[in-house]
């Protein structure tokens, strides 16, 4: 199972590297949204709750782009049949797609988060960096699992571009709550880490539930 997952992941990363269709779009989108928030909120710098909120809401909206494009190669080039004809476990497909999304999100954050710090974050990131990494990692995992599931659910429907955001964003609300609440103290002038344990636990619970659930139901998708 692992080897097929790896083969599929490798293929997806290779295609993304060649076409550069998802990650640059997500980065550009994120930075644009930061600029929008600057004008919309009429603020030069944010801290605490506002900073945390802007960072995470932008992340989720950018994720929508990644999720919508997750099965694009398969859809446009008849690749789904290729996968269905091979002795490939649906679970490997799920793992591969979720891993791809996870890696894309990480790549986006490598650029978007420092840009956010530069453009909008008053206190700066130095305060509690390792904690931020933990939140980002767990957050990405949840988005990846739910995103892969939503991508598969919407893969064959006609109104895919509408359904993905409408389906993905409500499902991500608990994750948003946990991530935003956990990040908020890190972005205050006097960075602290209150309640971090509690929110990380909620995030972990969310991740576990959705990873298990997605793996369980994925078998029933993408087959006829």
């Amino acid at each position: 199972m692992i080897s097929t997952a790896r083969a599929i992941l490798r293929k997806d990363l290779l295609i993304e590297w060649r076409t550069k269709e998802s990650v640059p779009a997500m980065v550009l989108f994120s930075v644009t949204v930061y600029v929008l928030f600057h004008f919309g909120l009429d603020r030069d710098s944010l801290d605490g709750e506002l900073a945390s909120g802007v960072l995470w809401v932008t992340m989720l909206l950018a994720a929508v782009i990644g999720v919508t494009r997750l099965f694009a190669a398969e859809r446009e080039q008849g690749g789904i049949d290729g996968l269905l004809l091979a002795p490939v476990d649906r679970t490997s497909l799920f793992v591969a797609k979720a891993a791809a999304l996870f890696l894309f999100l990480t790549a986006v954050e490598l650029v978007a988060v420092p840009t956010f710090a530069l453009l909008l974050l008053g206190p700066g990131l130095g305060g509690a960096f390792p904690e931020l990494l933990a939140i980002l990692a767990l957050g990405n995992l949840g988005i990846a699992a739910v995103g892969a599931l939503v991508a598969a659910l919407a893969a064959e429907t006609r109104a895919r571009e509408l359904i993905v955001p409408l389906l993905l964003l409500p499902l991500l609300v608990p994750l948003l709550i946990a991530c935003a609440q956990a990040t908020e103290p890190l972005m205050r002038q006097d960075a602290g880490t209150e309640d971090l344990g509690r929110w990380l636990s909620v995030l972990t619970l969310y991740d576990v539930v959705f990873v298990l659930l997605s793996v369980a139901v994925f078998d029933f998708l993408l087959e006829d």
Binding site: A7, L85, A86, P87
Partner: protein, 215 residues
Amino acid sequence: MAAIELERLERRYGERVALAGVSVRVEEGRTLAVLGGNGAGKTTLLRVLAGLLRPHGGSASVLGADLPGERWKLASQVGYLGHEPLLYRELSGRENLRYHARLHGATPGRVEELLAAVGMEARADDPVRDLSKGLVQRLAAARAVLHEPALLLLDEPRANLDPAAVELLEPLIGRASGRTRVLVSHDVEGALAESDLSLGLRDGRPAPVGAELYR
């Protein structure tokens, strides 16, 4: 045990009947020609045989696997050459074949062997989107036989191929390959010449092979 045994196979698409009452028996190593006009259900039949679509009625047994329950058994035994080449356009021929090899557990050596067999060594590293339809079809054929399948499902396999290519592909997908084959083609005479039995379809139902079929 026949390679393919269909008994009153049925497949619907919503309310519309795509296939109904299709019965046929194909022994190992034989070729079945499936003929009919556009929309007759030929491609649907191939997809059911490939395990891509599940039958809605009747019974179907392909290579010893009962459909739909045992579809998973078919996974590595069927080679499908359909209208879509099933190749990623941004990747090269070699990369595509290597990817399929990994999925099926075939070796890189086999990939090189096939690239040579279909005359694609020179352009194996060009992205598929830069290749002409004929070259893409060669690669698609290579992909279809990469894992040495017992059953070949061929939907207009010689479309876009020049005579040289047709000859190259003959030992892979032709009668000479020795595999059980189901062949869909609009070239009625050619198809009948290289098959052992034939099935005509009209509106999803079996019909005698003749001029009537295309009315």
